[in-house]
Amino acid sequence: MIRLLVYIDNSLGKLFDRIEPATAVGTEQLSAFRIFFGILMLLYFLPSWSWLNEVPEGFFDPYLLSFAYLTEDFPPPSIFTFLDVTVIILLLLVTLGIYTRKSLLLLYVISGVLFSYSFSFGKIDHYTNLFLFSYPVLAFTNSGTKFALLPDRKLSEKTQKTSLIVLGIIIAFGYFTAGLAKCLEWVDFDLSTNGFLDWIFYCFFHSENQSLLAPYLFSIPQFILEPLDYLAALFEISGFFFLFKGKKYWVFYLTIASIFHLTNLIFFNLSFALNTLCYGIFIVSPILSIIAKKNKPISKKWIRWLVGLSITVAFVKIVQISTDLPVYNYHNYTPLVHIELFVDLVLWLFTISCGIFLLSLGKTNLHRVAKGEMMK
């Protein structure tokens, strides 16, 4: 029995080792990314759940297997207000590097619970699914050990590598779940039905996503629709192939994933921009490190300025929440929904540019940059 377990353990070890080169990121890169992550969350992606105070109880229809189902109704307004403020403080701690690990884990728990209330109207939106897991993944790396006011205790290199391997598997698996269903249904060599067309109808008419280039969807010639079905299904199902092939392939896949999201944003107004914080761990973090190294004095000045701005914004938002003033929150603040589309577009373009830059480096330089070593 033990011999069998040893055999299985070794085989699995080899499998995980094959993923490791694709997902390896250096501690310095992760620490720089942590600051980027925190600033972006505070300035733009800030979640808030106080808006749920205004939703009538009759709308409360949570899924059976979500935290919200455990309660009879939406929690009292004071709970949302308290947790909104807590989340802002925790994000500030992450940005400044104070109790980073504990803050990230707390953020995962609080966000996991509270987003289940945001999705308690009989449907679960998926724009937070990958992003939420970037909290615990970053927590089990050494992202809080550098550029931090109160550095975390260092974890072993092995733990950091494992955490990043898990994130790689999470992304590839997430796409696989979406792609398998499409492969079975959409790849049917039947020109009389189309999956892409169903998305057009659903997004444009049912969800009223009619901004940016959405009206031009109706100009797409019908003969293109069928190949689009196959392309989407093939792309979504192939994540594991790229993950096992190594760094360059993985960066390529994430860049294509970003282009995929950008296209969805432009035509379907489906905003999955929170995923930039997830893919960014692999494709944005090395770029941030390069920028910081090349322009040290300017970068320091900019980081100080941005951190200062984040603290100010955090303070203003805490005051707004505590005084019942309307507070902006990502995705559920109607007055700014259309502006969000443009900011999301910029974020995707930035992520794609980072991916393309990394792909333009040779294989050796790509590995060196990811680990924080100097390029040859």
Binding site: V6, Y63, F121, A181, N194, Y202
Partner: protein, 174 residues
């Protein structure tokens, strides 16, 4: 023992966080877990035809001069995305006389019991909320009218709304 088989532990952990939620989602969309790593399945298909007729849920109210007015969904729902409208519409905005307490899963047909989360008091507060939204859009607040309108989409993409309004239901708010 556990420290000796770290890779097996990691694999079991992955099964726990990835495999189980996925299997649950495969059983039925209503058994989707949150949070979990399941991305949109969205594998429905539309018929490719020369003219498509699409039925769209819409809500209406009567203005003070007695004419029927279609309500703006986004304004009605406030900060809830319009993407949720159909779900809320199908459940009569929480004002159904009774809510189903069981369902059978799409795969394997397992019976799942549900607990109703909407009390009579909740319904009263929801009616109050809807009345306010009707008034905000210049309508009398005594009833919310649910209809299905038809969108016609010809091959050239020049879609238009047909005059066929299919009556669904009227929700009395007093």
């Amino acid at each position: 023992m556990i420290s000796r088989f770290k890779n097996i532990v990691l694999f079991l952990f992955l099964i726990l966080i990835l495999g189980i939620p996925y299997l649950s989602r495969l059983l039925d969309y209503r058994l989707e877990m949150f949070p979990s790593i399941v991305l949109p399945f969205g594998s429905n298909k539309a018929k490719v035809q020369d003219i498509t007729h699409l039925s769209i849920n819409a809500i209406y109210g009567y203005t003070k001069d007695g004419s029927l007015k279609e309500l703006d969904k986004s304004e009605f729902l406030q900060n809830i995305r319009v993407g949720y409208f159909d779900n809320l519409y199908n459940k009569r905005f929480g004002l159904r006389a009774s809510n189903p307490t069981t369902f059978k899963t799409n795969r394997l047909g397992i019976t799942i019991n549900l607990q109703s989360k909407i009390s009579e008091q909740d319904k009263e507060r929801t009616k109050e909320w809807i009345r306010e939204k009707l008034s905000n859009q210049g309508c009398v607040d005594s009833m919310l009218i649910l209809k299905k309108k038809e969108i016609v989409i010809p091959k050239n993409g020049q879609y238009y709304e047909s005059n066929n309004l299919v009556h669904d239901t009227i929700i009395s708010l007093y």
